[in-house]
């Protein structure tokens, strides 16, 4: 806990001073279990490239093997554009592997994106510096 605080606070201070209009939309910490990660692999159904946050809808099995429509929350269109992601980066039908924080309401099948990889060509997001969102 303490260690996490030490790292997180200065980083966040810096972010707030530089971004100006940071998102006031909602608290990720309150929405997701940030101390847990989950990985899904499935077919991309829809890429909502938009503000305040983008969403990737993926059809993938849950822990019981039942197919679900997962909603993966990603950065806003403005922020992702600065990282080279456009509305055409992902297409329905792409098979993707996503790692992220699970939502606190399990029935929402919701994930906060940490890492995405497209299986067909290896395109990925989330491992290079700056590939984050708020």
């Amino acid at each position: 806990m303490t260690a996490a605080l030490r790292i997180a606070f200065p980083a966040l201070v810096l972010a707030a001073l530089t971004v100006g209009t940071a998102s006031a939309h909602h608290s990720f910490t309150a929405t997701y279990f940030e101390d847990r990660t989950i990985e899904i692999e499935g077919k991309l159904l829809q890429f909502l490239f938009r503000n305040p946050h983008s969403f990737v809808h993926v059809e993938a099995p849950d822990e019981n093997g039942e197919l679900r429509r997962w909603a993966v929350e990603w950065g806003g269109a403005g922020q992702l554009s600065g990282q080279g992601v456009t509305s055409q980066t992902l297409r329905p039908g792409d098979v993707v592997t996503i790692t992220g924080n699970p939502g606190r309401n399990a029935s929402d099948y919701r994930i906060r994106m940490l890492y995405l990889r497209r299986n067909s060509d290896g395109f990925d997001w989330g491992r290079r510096p700056g590939e984050t969102f708020d």
């Binding site: 303490t2 606070f9 201070v13």
Partner: protein, 322 residues
């Protein structure tokens, strides 16, 4: 002796370093922290005196003595005030864990020092008041009692930690002490809007039918009368403090150094429609050692009718969560 009153404003609190601001051009380099404090405080007093003298030299012999700080106060800060903790609650009403310095723009050195905080060690070393020094006392939940010590010195007593601050409007008559203290040496001056001139009256606009308030109307408060315009003319008290001992911005050892400069603005806000009177203290801590940028806080206090709830306590910090 020519009466001297620090009418000149301090240079901007955001410009240069604290020492730059107050140093005379030929000031000697400081060797120690203590001597630097004395030098800078004395330099501040001299600088103020010099700035005040410039426009007054020609009239020095015949100019009447200016009114005292007390007589010329644009706002009345005296009385009992209680802090209302609506912000930084977990850092003020309780003692946070070591390493929780959220919101404070600490430098790497500041973080290093904060991470070494040890409450028991402080207590054993007789440093219980480190969180009650001038850099942290305003954020300690408690009550203030503000009164005139004399015509040119305003006194603030704090029941939290039983601390006292003296705000000197006449730094020449009240030079800085030799020793650093928890509360340091404070130089005060009133700030006020310029005196009214015979500006043309505002033309009636819109459906305004009542008297014109100073600077434009703005009546019409649903559910109550507008704030009275007579309680305060919007002046402020500016206080610059140096010469203090190293202390804590927060109870859990978030540090400020003895090299910091602390600038404060005291405002008595226009009376609220429900009768509440609020004191707002804006604090700017500039610390070249422990902070990466000026640290801004604004603390509010509500006026109390008397000192019935005055409850002096010694310097004591509750332990953090286990």
């Amino acid at each position: 002796m020519i009466p001297i009153r620090p009418t000149a404003r301090f240079p901007s609190a955001h410009a240069a370093t604290p020492d730059d601001r107050f140093a005379l051009p030929d000031a000697e380099p400081c060797r120690t922290r203590a001597s630097r404090t004395r030098a800078s405080a004395a330099a501040a007093a001299l600088a103020i005196a010099a700035l005040s003298l410039v426009p007054a030299v020609g009239d020095a012999q015949r100019a009447p003595a200016p009114p005292s700080a007390r007589a010329s106060a644009p706002i009345d800060l005296t009385g009992y005030w209680v802090s209302v903790v609506t912000e930084d609650w977990r850092h003020r009403m309780a003692t946070p864990r070591k390493g929780d310095y959220e919101s404070v723009p600490l430098s790497a050195e500041g973080r290093r020092v904060a991470d070494q905080w040890d409450l028991e060690r402080d207590n054993a070393a007789g440093l219980e008041c480190k969180a009650f020094g001038v850099g942290g006392i305003m954020r300690q939940p408690g009550r203030l009692h503000i009164a005139w010590e004399n015509d040119d010195t305003l006194r603030i007593d704090f029941d939290a930690g039983s601390q006292t601050r003296l705000l000197h409007f006449d730094p020449v008559a009240n030079p800085p002490p030799d020793e650093r203290t928890w509360q340091g040496y404070s130089v005060a001056e009133w700030e006020r809007p310029p005196a009214p001139s015979n500006a043309p009256v505002r033309a009636p606009i819109g459906n305004s039918t009542g008297p014109v308030a100073a600077g434009g109307g703005g009546r019409g408060l649903r559910g109550g009368p507008p704030p009275p315009s007579t309680i305060s003319d919007g002046g402020a008290l500016k206080v610059v403090t140096t010469g203090f001992r190293e202390g804590y911005l927060r109870k859990n050892g978030v540090p400020y150094s003895a090299d910091a400069t602390i600038t404060e603005y005291f405002h008595r806000l226009p009376e609220h429609p429900n009768g509440d009177v609020w004191l707002l203290v804006v604090t700017i801590v500039e610390d070249p050692l422990y902070l990466t940028e000026p640290f801004y806080t604004s603390t509010h206090f509500k006026r109390e009718p008397n000192g019935d709830k005055w409850n002096p306590t010694p310097c004591r910090t509750a332990p953090p969560p286990s």
